[in-house]
Symmetry: D2
Subunit: 333 residues, 4 copies
């Protein structure tokens, strides 16, 4: 039985705690939060867990095997480092860390100590993303031409991070998970209208090959849009995550290019066939993720969302900030 | 009665010819196209018009008062210059010209000759865009924060221009028409997958103030999306042009910022009120535009879509190409 | 402090219990269910409540002021009668009773004993239905022409009632609540395909005046549709309850009839104006309903969803069954 | 070359004339309409055709092989009878005739004279309906449980027929075409609000087996809905005809019934699988229908939409009127 401590019990912490507690072979034994009001809710969510306002009660406790860090990103590094130093596996909220250097240091530390890091990229455990991964891996879309995501709504303005750090980690982690190729550069533009944080932003991600990815994130949209288009040489996919049903549609559409007499003379043929909406598994993503954490610790397997996956997202985020400061100048990764 | 010649009778030429011919005080007397097959259709569209494969029959004719140039963009400059030189008003398909220099030269020539140039920015005559212009002008949205347009579908690949030159002139002309402020810089990213033309592209347009605009254009989308979000300090607007009804929705949504004790401490309040879909006038845009052309010639008024409007679009397009070549580097206008 | 007992703790009972318990001035002190597995969940929902498998522990207890009956409809009458007989107010799940005669007997009994009956027509406490009621009461739609509801999905087949008894009570209670006029007759058609229960049905409700209402209920639809159209002489309303936002749209559309020379010669003019989606209050309906129950007991006010409202629904249901048996023959109420 | 006359050149007549004229082996030689204004448009649509205000010029002409009757329904019988009597094939607008007796008389007459009758059930030639027919014929839906159609909009009020005669012929002809079984009875309810014509109506159609069909037609809806659900024992289909793409969706959803110990104890299992939107052929329905007419005359084949198909629709319409007059009483066919 894995004994876990949870540091941070605000909005997302209770979900993490409940799901770990529901996992066979894991048990949340202690919860830390600085706000007494938050700690009051612990009893309902994970009955029997100890509560504390001092994170050392968890990080330094010899009775705790693993720590879930569910705090603002600025605290991830210190908390995770101390947990690892003290021999505990860590589950860290996304984005993994505030800088690439921090991510690298944690990865090194974990490897040295033979401990496991998992970054909470919940979305890659949803039925929708698992289906997209499967479809792309089985080459049903062919070569990937573009990945185009829009994630906008009238959102909660964050005071400590901009809209890219708030919303894009979801999409970056999904893209890195489902695409085989790795990004090589980033260009980001954006604007501030309300406070000192960029609240609308547009990110282009470049790859070695002709694949291009784009992310539209916005805290000031009147409507909620969660739409991802993935275009391939064979088929195209649309994932509309605000729909209750048929979230993923695969279109047997595309163009075929045939060279005619000369290489200059290309004829483009358009294909329009059936559309197909595969059934999506409805299992709760966070529950599967928590099981994966426990399972990887037991078996020694590497999590799909390990520290390197977390690092990949932080690299993109850091590059976005550099590009934003230079009005969209391309930043190599 | 304004006697008109039409040069170019492919896909769009017949629509232009029919609408000019239906206008009181204008009459299409001659049509030119290089393809005999195209000329065969002239009789049905503008009965009685002469047909020719030689554009000089129109451009040099003393009997023609105005010329509509409905050819590929590469020919706009030469045809329009000759028509203006010969004392004829010109109606030119969008985009106005292939370069900023050409646009400037035509504008100068027309001013010297006291002739009129109209660029076929049809969209600004649609009921939807006229309503958006009205809503913004009457300050119903407040200060404009962002203009975010997506125009994608499985489109006809062009062989002579990239996807920005093909699709974005619509959106650039609309944006320049409805926003009071003028753009100052552009950043564009994109990729080629099928032939030598960029077929998916993302354009950010910057303004003096904090307004930001963005354009997502794509020839390889499985679905047709024509969606524009305009966010303002007071309200927000969504224009979904693929809907048959209620294309424009105005949301009484937004954020209010109140400084509390200090300038550092801002409190953000979210407002969510009614949504309102104003009735859209259904008159055919091209018919209104043709009437506007004839009316401006008669009255000496300046068209809303004159050469300067056309130049504005070409400036953006040219800057996009420069930015594309430099992987998204910002290009000043 | 109103001390309440809850009889029935299956699917809906826990919601009722939790909401009553969250109401100021009410407290759930005892819960009954025949299934021990159901009773196990009581502690989490209403901590501290007693549990029992014997409903007499609640119905005969001198310490309980009011009873919520959340059982299958066949048991409503016996349980409610005994509670009223023993001087307790009752909150009864919809539909109120299995027969009109039972409903009348309970109403009489409650009046004699000066006790309150509330029937759980939750929907009339939703923001959407409250807005519809307001719009109709303020005569914004004009004279009501029709009320047309579709409520279909791949539903849970019931074993004890047909699809009309399962789904239509929602719509009947809403219609009776928002329309001023009262129905006078019913015609219902339907079919059985899976078990011995009608699983798809169509109900027409007639009124004194020309108003007509229609209900399409179906357990075997591949998609979930919750759509109600209400047409009036001045405006028309659509309520699409599966949407997350803008559930209610009011269309300034309609026809005007003008007699010309003679009464025979009518000219019909079509009006098409703006559409308007009023903001909907998001308060939880069941919480408002529970507060209303407690408030009515304290103040002696009559609930909007009292026994007579429940009777109205049962009258329609009973008439539907009679009409179904006669292949759609009209049945007077 | 089949020489055709067209009687009636109002709204739909020009479409029929143009399509017949575009058919190989047919030519429209004469057009009749009582309104000179309508005849003025003939030259543009079918250049070279003669025009007349007197239908005998067509019906009695020895030079005409076939007549298209595109008039109000009240005139169909007389015009078609005279055409058949004079040895001409007839193409008749839907609904075929104003009464069942008239339809029978025309069918008998055509058989005696060995002439062909085609009723203009255009919809059955659309790609969507051809696909539905194919899907049902290949037993992909299994046994058909229900056919549920909604066809409503803010429609043009007719002065000579009610909303059922105006809108339901489309749906009746489609249903009769795609379902193997034949209807046995009808129940219809409705109401009048504007003039003396029923403008909103609900029709249930019964079959020998448990199949049930329902039709919701309304001239006073604020929105245009064209939705048909077809539920089967194996799969379910939704046809949303207002969509530009993916009009037909086939859902691998349903219920399986398994008897357990006894016949009374049924366990119902729900199946939810993929959804599939087959590509729909986009050929113009009316063009295919006109080709079918000419082809049947040449080859002696029986049209799918012959007089008997027209009769089937008129039988339903006549039964609806009888049922409407008796407040929804079931009327045997």
């Amino acid at each position: 039985m894995l004994k876990m401590g949870v540091v941070g019990f605000g909005y997302w912490g209770p979900n993490v705690a409940r799901n770990f507690n529901s996992t066979d072979d894991a048990k949340v034994v202690s919860v830390c939060d600085k706000m007494p009001a938050n700690l009051k809710r612990v009893g309902k969510v994970v009955p029997g867990a100890l509560t504390t306002q001092d994170s050392s009660d968890i990080l330094d406790s010899p009775d705790i095997d693993a720590v879930a860090v569910v705090t603002p990103v600025s605290m991830h590094f210190e908390l995770a480092r101390r947990a690892l130093t003290n021999g505990k596996h860590v589950f860290v909220e996304k984005p993994f860390t505030a800088t690439v250097a921090q991510a690298r240091e944690l990865i090194d530390l974990a490897e040295k100590k033979k401990l496991l890091i998992m970054v909470d990229h919940t979305f890659i455990f949803t039925g929708a993303v698992r289906k997209i991964k499967e479809v792309i891996t089985e080459h049903e879309l062919g070569e990937i031409y573009y990945y185009d995501s829009t994630r906008v709504n009238l959102g909660l303005f964050q005071h400590d991070v901009n809209v890219i750090w708030d919303l894009a980690p979801h999409d970056f982690s999904i893209m890195l998970h489902v695409l085989k190729d790795k990004p090589v550069a980033v260009a980001a533009t954006g604007a501030k209208h309300v406070n000192d944080m960029v609240n609308v932003a547009y990110v282009t991600v470049f790859f070695e090959k002709a694949t291009i990815a784009h992310f539209n994130v916005n805290w000031l949209s009147p409507v909620k849009i969660r739409n991802t288009l993935i275009g391939g040489s064979k088929r195209m996919l649309m994932w509309n995550d605000v729909l209750a049903d048929d979230k993923i549609k695969i279109y047997d559409k595309g163009v075929d290019v045939r060279s005619t007499q000369s290489i200059v003379n290309l004829r483009i043929n358009y294909r329009t066939g059936d559309m197909w909406a595969p059934r999506i598994d409805g299992k709760e993503a966070l529950a599967l993720e928590c099981e994966h954490f426990v399972d990887c610790i037991k078996t020694g397997r590497k999590p799909v969302n390990d520290g390197h996956a977390g690092l990949g997202v932080v690299q993109l985020l850091e590059a976005c900030d550099k590009s934003l400061e230079q009005d969209g100048k391309i930043v190599k990764l």
